[in-house]
């Protein structure tokens, strides 16, 4: 297949948010119910992580709070275990959606021996599961974007209909890795979805000091569609992601999605966001929290309050049980500190 880039017809669109008050089909209600439970689980796990961090049982906490709708709905559009998923340190809700167990998330938070991602070597929320085609990520920003392009290249060489997705934040779009990954994927029309979760902040630096133009517009420069969606509206995210995944799978090349999300808490437990975010800004972020919004929507669609309350208590119990299981796991052996530096042939 020729690497020739035709005069690319590139759409740049800001997708309209779906109307929260509009009618939902039975299928949509069913999807939203499932996603709501995963989002609740991600939120419950996230909250417990911060508690064990405050208790001194974990050293470092990273959050996905406020990103749950964008992550869960986008991951739901993938074929888990078939498509390659390159995550970043906020991707906990996406990881849960594709099948990562909360027990394993907590084993990683607590740096336990049986942490299957890294055996306690790597910081929390750095997922790695071979059966889910979820390769281990580093802590560097944007370095996994070329890897997603590489997995797309591999799919082409191997003749597989695999799609790869890279999840990353708005800060990552300033890096050279972003540019080189999108350049490569655009030239070779690789089956990749670049999914940017724009929460408006790279730790403290606002997005206007990271990107001179709206992020979704950058797609045009790489010959790929760039779309912006309300990342707190799971159906809007799902539709945008489905379109991008379908496009990639049929061989039409990569897409860039910018999902506008909110960061509800600090960057990490080592960060004090009140230094750089005003109470008004924090309140505005809180008002966009995707969980209460989806709850209202489900109620409006006729889901019973009692059913929602039951899920909420079940999910909390599930997260607490997962934490207890992880806490009972043994700590790693110091003698294994140099294990796995080199792979065995």
């Amino acid at each position: 297949m020729a690497a020739t880039v035709e005069a690319a017809t590139v759409e740049t669109a800001t997708m309209a948010a779906t109307n929260d008050a509009g009618p939902l089909s039975g299928e949509e209600i069913s999807l939203l119910q499932g996603w709501y439970r995963t989002m609740l689980l991600a939120r419950a796990v996230d909250e417990l992580m911060w508690i064990v961090g405050a208790q001194g049982k974990a050293h470092f906490i990273l959050t996905s709070r406020g990103h749950e709708a964008a992550q869960v709905a986008s991951a739901a559009a993938l074929r888990a275990g078939h498509d390659y998923i390159f995550t970043y340190y906020r991707s906990m809700a996406a990881a849960l959606q594709v099948g990562v167990a909360p027990e394993d998330v907590f084993r990683s938070v607590l740096a336990k021996r049986d942490d299957p991602f890294a055996g306690g070597r790597q910081l929390p929320n750095h997922f790695s599961v071979r059966r889910l085609r979820l390769p281990a990520g580093s802590s560097s920003v944007a370095t996994h974007l070329p890897h997603a392009a590489g997995a797309g290249y591999a799919a082409r060489v191997l003749g597989e209909d695999t799609v790869s997705v890279a999840y990353f934040g708005d800060g990552a779009t300033a890096k050279g890795d972003f540019h080189e990954a999108l350049t490569f994927a655009g030239i070779w029309k690789l089956p990749v979805v670049f999914f940017c979760e724009n929460n408006g902040l790279a730790i403290s630096v606002p997005v206007e000091l990271e990107s001179p133009a709206p992020i979704h517009l950058k797609g045009a420069g790489y010959g790929m569609p760039g779309v912006r969606v309300d990342g707190c509206d799971p159906l809007a995210v799902y539709r945008a992601m489905q379109e991008a995944v379908t496009r990639a799978r049929r061989g039409d090349g990569p897409s860039l999605i910018e999902a506008e999300v909110v960061r509800l808490v600090a960057h990490s437990n080592a960060d004090d966001q009140t230094v750089y975010r005003t109470p008004d800004e924090l309140a505005a972020a809180q008002a966009r929290d995707p969980l209460p919004r989806l709850r209202r929507r489900l109620l409006g669609a006729g889901v019973a309050e009692a059913a929602l309350a039951t899920w909420e208590s079940e999910v909390r119990a599930r997260a607490e049980a997962a934490l207890s299981t992880a806490e009972a796991s043994p700590d790693p052996d110091a003698a294994d500190a140099r294990k796995y530096l080199y792979a065995e042939a």
């Binding site: 020729a2 390659y84 070597r121 790695s128 390769p135 281990a136 890897h147 290249y153 591999a154 060489v157």
Partner: protein, 326 residues
């Protein structure tokens, strides 16, 4: 057996491995249509197609990063950087990403990429076509760094590197590309990673070296025969992790050691080997460990200046004489 140059030997290694395993791919700038600026990949695109011999944009982060992602998804990529001087933007991908994947995934994910680049001076390439950068990568656990000394070595080591589950950084000295022909076995002759090789047996002094240093050491050893000095040449082949046992065996026999490399002296591979000898073989040494290396400078374009910076066989002779006279 065909008589091949180092360029032809690397080309044959790539061709054989790509024929054997459809997962082996080559990517880099100019590797396809042009066949590489030194001709290393000549003919491969015609045989294996433009996807498996991919002309990459001149973007080293992308070349390295795409190779890493492709390896994670099942390929065996060989990423070419046009000159070692231009591999630096990819350092983050190689050192922070490729080198750590096995470790930070509990051994679950592997990163079988070979990062290849021509290195070395002596061709009047100036600051940006002359560098020897192996020591940078030698500081990184998880990486394997190989610098072959000749055609047969290059072919056997590259074939093994392509099949290795770990990321390998592979530097070929461009001054050795067409300097000599030698018999290179076709087919399944693989050379081991992490094992040094005695290039020449000797009794009086060990010249511990790799890459083009082996060439200088051979010239020096031949010149010193007239003086009755018997030089053993140890070709490290893999400079990281280097073969401590082989170094120890040779020095325990000769009791004198000289380390030779083209890269800058300070904090170079030679510094590590000298430290190893001081720590582990102090009692075996009859003379201080010597080093012949570049004079801690960028490589200038002007011929006289370049010669003033880069080591040569005469310096090896001189250094061995000093060691023997101690």
């Amino acid at each position: 057996m065909p008589q091949l140059t180092l360029v032809e030997a690397v080309n044959l290694a790539l061709k054989e491995e790509m024929t054997r395993d459809p997962r082996v791919v080559v990517l880099g700038q100019d590797v396809g249509r042009k066949g590489g600026v030194f001709g290393v990949t000549r003919g491969l695109r015609r045989e294996f197609g433009e996807l498996r011999v991919l002309d990459a944009p001149i973007a080293e982060i992308g070349i390295a990063g795409v190779a890493i992602g492709a390896a994670l998804a099942g390929l065996r990529p060989v990423a070419e950087f046009q000159f070692a001087d231009y591999i630096h933007p990819a350092f983050d991908q190689i050192a922070n990403e490729a080198a750590t994947i096995s470790y930070r995934s509990n051994g679950v994910w592997q990163c079988p990429v070979v990062f290849r680049a021509p290195c070395g001076a002596g061709v009047h390439g100036g600051l940006y076509h002359s560098q020897s950068v192996e020591a940078y990568y030698g500081h990184v656990p998880g990486l394997t760094v190989i610098v072959p000394s000749g055609p047969a070595e290059a072919k056997g080591l590259l074939k093994r590197a392509i099949r290795d589950p770990n990321p390998v950084v592979f530097f070929e000295h461009k001054g050795s590309y067409r300097r000599e022909r030698e018999e290179v076995p076709e087919g399944e002759t693989l050379l081991p990673i992490g094992q040094a090789r005695i290039d020449r047996q000797g009794d009086d002094v060990s010249a511990i070296t790799y890459g083009i240093g082996v060439h200088w050491a051979r010239q020096a050893a031949a010149a010193l025969e007239a003086d009755g000095v018997s030089v053993e040449i140890l070709d490290l082949r893999t400079v990281h992790p280097f073969d401590r046992e082989a170094v120890a065996r040779s020095v325990q026999k000769t009791n004198r050691a000289l380390i030779v490399h083209e890269a800058n002296k300070t904090l170079g591979v030679g510094a590590e080997i000298a430290a190893f000898l001081a720590e582990e073989l102090f009692d075996s040494l009859d003379a201080p460990v010597g080093r012949v290396a570049a004079r801690d400078c960028h490589v200038p374009y002007a011929e006289a200046q370049e010669r003033a910076i880069i080591p040569n066989a005469a310096q090896v002779v001189e250094a061995i004489r000093r060691t023997m006279a101690y």
